[in-house]
Symmetry: C2
Subunit: 171 residues, 2 copies
Amino acid sequence: MDKGQIHIYTGNGKGKTTAALGISLRAVCAGKKVFFGQFIKGMDYSELKAVDYLPKFEIHQFGRDCFIYNKPTEEDILAAKEGLKICGEILKNKDYDMVVLDELNVALYYKLFSVEEVIKVLENRADNIEVIITGRYAPQQLVDMADLVTEMKEIKHYYKKGISARKGIES
Amino acid sequence: MDKGQIHIYTGNGKGKTTAALGISLRAVCAGKKVFFGQFIKGMDYSELKAVDYLPKFEIHQFGRDCFIYNKPTEEDILAAKEGLKICGEILKNKDYDMVVLDELNVALYYKLFSVEEVIKVLENRADNIEVIITGRYAPQQLVDMADLVTEMKEIKHYYKKGISARKGIES
């Protein structure tokens, strides 16, 4: 089989999106082409600027400018579904060597689309594309399908000491 | 206090150095200056190329071209001690906004230097420098000192399925 591997970074600790950014950087450094899709998120994160520095790196957001805390709106659902459609097309083609589905697990948790839809998208992907999935609450069906799963476990977190997210560190 | 925060990425799972690369990328995107020191490692990793793309990013290795499996050699110890000295100087100055001490925990595990030496280096750091420490086996004294600690826990790993490290993905 020459399907690329599926990596999942999940858990309640920090470092999931960060690890996805790191693996993207490493891939770009090795001459690979990376598509970084961010579900749920539509905020002005520092990482959006990475396109200014990295060749063969694209980042797109499929969320609104705020987190979903309770019930997702119709707009959240439409944005996420459109994002999954775009990522599905990208995964079917061979234009990218690595595709990141950032916060996909959280989109699934909020039922913005179903795990069956995601599995179909993953199964239909072209050969040799590395897929990176992040977000807490990774569903068991995706874990079963993945080749590598890391749980980021929070041992200590300074948010709890009253420091909020800082530009260029957490966001 | 305006000391920068100390982050630790530890545990047996994948994503520790990768997260450190990601947080470095994010920092650079926010206009910050990053020094990335790699202990133990002296191999030709893809991330060494990041200097070609990222402004204000430096990476240096303080290890030999192979991992330490058993007893470290005199050469390993000298390289690590020299690395700690260099990082100590960098941390004392205000030239960088973020300093990564990659695999520092592993260097401690192999007793290439002592945890007391590391604590002294950290205590003597200038204000407002974010410190990122990676590697399995983070000693309790460093965990106590840190502001944020994430354990990367291996849930599933394809090395075990017989695939070795691939350029631009793991190395």
